[in-house]
């Protein structure tokens, strides 16, 4: 009798931990976007972001984030090319958790292009 109860309690606890654990994990989110001249993969890690160039040859990459619901616009963040094709934002790009729209302005010999992605920033 006691063993049955303990087993059932264990199952319930396992289900609960699984659900809670899955919901609260804040893994880096990556989104791809392709334009006419460039294609990028944006990785949002916490409050900052980095851009990997998948296509095109960009000299500079600048990020500007907007929270459309709130009407919040962040200053344009510059990035540093840490290794070829990998641009990391200087400092924080997002100020809070929520749904953001991130515009990636790429400039290079080919053209200037702005790609926009929607991302969910977790706590």
């Amino acid at each position: 009798m006691k063993r049955v109860l303990a087993l059932c309690a264990l199952v319930a606890a396992a289900v609960t931990f699984f659900v809670v654990g899955r919901a609260s994990t804040a893994e880096p989110v990556s989104v791809r976007s392709a334009g006419a001249h460039y294609a990028v993969t944006v990785v949002v890690d916490g409050r900052t972001a980095r851009v990997r160039l998948d296509r095109g040859d960009a000299d500079t990459v600048a990020l500007s984030a907007v929270m459309p619901h709130m009407g919040h616009a962040m200053p344009e963040a510059t990035t540093r090319e840490r290794e070829p094709g990998h641009f990391h934002a200087d400092g924080e790009v997002f100020t809070m958790a929520g749904a953001w729209e991130l515009s990636i302005r790429l400039t290079g010999p080919a053209a200037e292009e702005v790609l926009t992605v929607k991302v969910l920033v977790a706590d």
């Binding site: 009798m1 049955v4 109860l5 059932c8 309690a9 199952v11 319930a12 289900v15 609960t16 659900v19 809670v20 919901a23 989110v29 989104v31 791809r32 976007s33 392709a34 334009g35 294609a39 296509r55 907007v66 459309p68 619901h69 709130m70 009407g71 919040h72 616009a73 958790a97 929520g98 749904a99 515009s103 926009t116 929607k118 991302v119 969910l120």
Partner: protein
């Protein structure tokens, strides 16, 4: 032992219920521009000088086909519309050609993945880029619990029967208890499934749950290209939409009554009227080509709606120079509204309070088959009173065909253009249109009722004189 079974069932139920509660905050995707199987996306476009509605039918899986058709609402002679669907995620592009027709053939374009896409439409030298998302339902994750529960129950029941047959009472009851628990979970989920939250479909935009308050207001900057249009010559009317809070282009318009924006252009005197559906040519930019035969000042009223927000009205005006020219026959819904006080009925005449269109007093109609010469609206009350509902009823020559999601549309403008209303027909049976509207102030209003027949859009202009409510004695 029965108590053990009940307890087991109870505990498993509690576990399932806690899982349900913990999953409840799941966010539903926004419904803007989403293309899913079974939910068509319909977008009206004024392109190549005609009114078309592009219909995109979704796919149930990816890779899979999107079916795209172009419905014509005005007579068109074999108008090809080039279609190009591009995935914004990986840039993969597929293209095809649709023929605009009353009952169009649908073109199948294979898409490789879900998520954001762009449909590039080109016809008659004009190009529109319509953003949309391809969504595919993932199927309910709760199915796992239903099938899992039944599977476990079946397995344990067989085990219970076998152990029972071998006279091992304790283990048999335990297995039967497990089976009962499995059945309970499965049955619970079957019963509760309609209320259980499901995850967003594949390709949905990330959202942070329901947002209150909507989005900031839109400001519009209206310009014409060339800057000084001339009567009789084609020009482009361009509306730049800017977010009032961030100053960025507004590129989150949702489809509002089957269009990104409903742009009504009227001459200041009300003699010219166009109801247009401008093309999105770039983020935050809407454009439409038009031409008018009369110089003068024109008013533009555009109705639109941002994602997760209500409808908004943006306005502007522009001036057309030059000399009056012959009305062009390439503008099918150009029409005239007589607004000369001497020729219209007064509100004191009960049955003819709304003066009919009189093309003779307003110059030749742009295209005889689209102007409805004898539109005599029937008003109830016959002398409309400001602030009280007025019902306007008009007869139609042919059974109306739904256009922009409705049987009929009534556009109302105050004489000075400061007030604008767009009223929808309320589903009257037979060949008539009925609108109910409360005119806010006394005075004369210019009105245009519109409906689509099998092959054209009919516009019926008239005016309504609204009286002031009697003062309370």
């Amino acid at each position: 032992m029965i108590r053990v079974l009940r307890l087991a069932a109870l505990l498993v139920s509690a576990g399932a219920a806690s899982a349900v509660l913990l999953l409840l905050p799941g966010a539903a995707p926004a419904a803007a521009h989403n293309v899913t199987a079974g939910a068509d996306l319909r977008i009206a476009q004024t392109i190549a000088g005609t009114e078309l509605t592009v219909v995109i039918k979704g796919t149930a899986r990816v890779p899979g086909p999107l079916r795209i058709g172009v419905v014509a609402y005005q007579p068109v002679a074999d108008l090809p519309v080039n279609l190009e669907v591009r995935s914004v995620t990986d840039g993969r592009t597929v293209s095809g050609v649709a023929r605009a027709a009353r009952d169009p053939q649908f073109v199948r374009l294979q898409v490789g993945q879900t998520g954001p896409h762009e449909l590039r439409l080109s016809a008659g030298g004009e190009v529109a880029v319509v953003p949309f998302r391809v969504l595919v339902d993932r199927g309910s994750g709760w199915d796992f619990l239903i099938y899992g529960g039944f599977f476990v129950a079946g397995l344990l029941l067989v085990g219970g029967l076998l152990t029972g047959a071998l006279s091992r009472r304790g283990p048999a009851m335990l297995l039967a208890g497990g089976a009962a628990a499995g059945l309970t979970v499965a049955a619970m989920v079957v019963v509760l499934e309609p209320q259980l939250p499901t995850g967003p479909p594949d390709g949905a935009a990330p959202t942070a749950g329901p947002q209150a308050g909507g989005r900031p207001f839109v400001q519009s900057l209206l310009e014409t290209v060339p800057a000084s249009p001339v009567a009789g010559e084609e020009f482009t009317l361009r509306v730049a939409l800017v977010d009032g809070a961030t100053g960025r282009p507004v590129d989150d318009l949702t489809v509002h009554h089957e269009a990104l924006a409903h742009l009504v252009v009227t001459s200041e005197d009300g003699r010219r009227f166009r109801h247009l559906h401008p093309l999105r040519t770039a983020p935050g930019r809407l454009e439409v080509r038009m031409r008018t035969d009369r110089p003068g000042r024109y008013l533009a009223h555009a109705e639109l709606e941002r994602e997760d927000s209500g409808g908004q009205l943006v306005t502007g005006s522009f001036t057309v120079g030059g000399r009056p020219t012959e009305p062009s026959t390439t503008e099918p819904d150009t029409t005239q509204a007589p607004v000369e006080p001497d020729t219209v009925g007064s509100p004191a005449e009960p049955d003819t309070a709304g003066p009919p269109a009189e093309p003779d007093t307003a110059g030749p109609p742009a295209e005889p088959d689209t102007a409805h010469p004898a539109a005599v609206p029937r008003l109830r009350p016959a002398a409309p009173v400001a602030g009280r509902p007025t019902t306007i009823e008009l007869g139609t020559t042919e059974p109306p065909r739904p256009w922009l999601g409705m049987t009929g549309h009534l556009v109302v403008r105050s004489q000075d253009g400061a007030f604008f209303g767009h009223v929808h027909e309320m589903g009257s049976p037979g060949s008539r249109l009925r609108f109910t509207f409360s005119f806010p102030r006394p005075g004369r209003y210019l009105a245009w009722a519109q409906y689509a027949t099998a092959d054209r859009i009919v516009t019926m202009p008239f005016t309504v004189d609204v009286t002031a409510p009697e003062t309370v004695r």
